[in-house]
Symmetry: C2
Subunit: 340 residues, 2 copies
């Protein structure tokens, strides 16, 4: 039994979806239900980030379950707040909903959203809901906090700093390729069963990414303050170029130091794709890329799940990857760019 | 000469549009160019509101110039912050842009956005830009401040409070009817010149609304703190019902006290539409609706541009309009509801 959204109307739908939502952060003073939410941030700096996700551009509902989409929509925003060395605290969620969606669809989306909020300790404090003639439109703004003057920017990397990255790269991109392949294979076959055996990690990285809250905590515990940081959403190459441009420096990263999961490598082989390109330019990894002073070398080497992949240079040396055979390949931003 | 957006790409377009943007508010610590903006609000409460505007649902580019659309997109958010008794300080702007838009189109949109920011003293501190397969998508989140514990909510109205509204009502709705009429008349006539003579105010109210910054300042100056407040975006009836529901009270408003501009009345006559319905349910007025204690009667009567239109009652009396002939008509939310 599916319920048409028109039965509830805009206000009814919002009431239904946000029923029972409680505010847990001390900074969340007032949430949903007024012209604006009221927050209190007397002792910290405030971080604000926003992400727009559009059906047909950022996601394909043929293979993305709405609950996963809700989860991912929230998490990609949290990732931006962690990338500033902060903690996400509140989100506001705007949805444009076309007529093919039912109340149950939106419940599934909100289930994912709420789960992400619960796991990451974030409060849903407001939003806007409207009809859309244009498929599903999701716009989330996340507010977070960071100790006064402890935000980490993109522009603080210095010559000789070590370049570090968390987790592994390219898996989400390979997951996308796999999902697209199975979608193509399923065309016209209603009983088609996609085959993800042995590739579960890739599918999970694409459909249900996590933000690296744990890395921020680890760094703080180890007393390491990165000199620059950002999250890897458009691909490592693109992000490295951002850091180097903003910090007015160059870099060298080593192909053989790039962290890649076994499943990613197998999938690249299977699809006859270049593994390094996938890892460097795939995007949607939501790992943290950061630089630390050379003096933190020992500290950072000890941290689990973090790999030193290269170092920062003077600007005139440019940005390059050192390949396994010792050649230098200039880094290029082939990251996902929907407007190019 | 029009420039295709693909020539610049996502990052190039953002750089181009946001070139030369300066931060003017002390609370705007870092703006565009990192994973998140950094704000400082040590001494005030923080307000957050968000609005989603979708082509084909909220605006029709046949008659809405992009510069006006940029202006209006920002102003409707500012209005929500004023409606909390606050001051807007920052916005983040997300845009989904379909392929028919050029760089020049987006420049026009940003011109309007920047003009609104300049006039209202707001800083543009971030956003997200993406391709859209689905027309223009605009999502703006506005952050503002309000003196500690001075935010005005919807739930503070009390029995015997006076109901006040700024400006006049129904003009934006009549402007929309006029623009739609001229659009229909122009169909298939490339040389068609729309006729807005004597109706300029209606067109302006629809295309270039203003937020009532001045009213908030006046109230503060007069030492009046409303017991409840919201902005009139969905129509006066709908907003009154919100306030009464949230405040657990009823209300009486007088038909003959409803502020209506002469042009609105003429247009309603011309279109053979019910004037009171237009004024009560038209929406997009962006005026402020608020309640004050009865003891503030003399103070509020003296303020220019504010009209007392009724009073708050005990909840069991319900919500009604008293017509010119003394009858009571229950208020109904016939406000604009894109999902109903």
């Amino acid at each position: 039994m599916e319920t048409e959204i028109s039965k509830l109307g805009e206000f009814g739908l919002i009431d239904h979806l946000t029923k029972g939502i409680e505010l847990k952060n001390p900074s969340s003073h007032r949430g949903i239900g007024d012209d604006a939410a009221v927050l209190k941030y007397p002792d910290t700096d405030v971080l604000v980030t926003t992400d727009l996700l559009l059906e047909g551009v950022h996601f394909d509902l043929t293979y993305v379950p709405l609950k996963h989409l809700g989860y991912k929509s929230a998490v990609v925003n949290f990732s931006d707040i962690y990338a500033m060395n902060g903690t996400p605290r509140q989100i506001v969620v705007s949805l444009g909903i076309s007529s093919r969606f039912t109340v149950e669809h939106m419940e599934a989306f909100y289930d994912g959203l709420r789960l992400a909020c619960e796991i990451y300790g974030v409060d849903l404090v407001g939003g806007d809901t409207s009809a859309s003639r244009q498929g599903l439109v999701i716009s989330i703004t996340c507010i977070g906090d960071v100790e006064k003057d402890k935000a980490v920017f993109r522009n603080g990397a210095k010559d000789t700093d070590l370049i570090c990255v968390s987790g592994d790269l390219g898996a989400a991109y390979m997951g996308l390729q796999l999902l697209e392949r199975e979608k193509a294979a399923s065309a016209g076959k209603p009983d088609f069963e996609p085959d993800f055996a042995g590739k579960e990690y890739l599918v999970e990285r694409q459909l249900k990414p996590e933000a690296r809250k744990d890395i921020i905590a680890e760094l703080a515990k180890a007393g390491i303050k990165p000199t620059s940081m950002m999250d890897v959403s458009d691909g490592l190459s693109s992000e490295l170029l951002h850091i180097c441009k903003e910090s007015d420096c160059g870099c060298r990263v080593y192909e053989d130091r790039t962290p890649i999961d076994y499943q990613t490598a197998v999938m690249a082989e299977e699809l006859n794709m270049n593994l390094v390109t996938a890892a460097m330019n795939g995007g949607e990894d939501y790992e943290l890329l950061f630089t630390v002073p050379l003096t933190d070398h020992e500290k950072v080497e000890k941290l689990p799940g973090i790999k030193v992949i290269g170092y920062i240079t003077k600007p005139d040396l440019g940005c390059a990857m050192v390949t396994r055979d010792g050649q230098e390949m200039p880094l290029r931003a082939q990251g996902w760019n929907s407007l190019a």
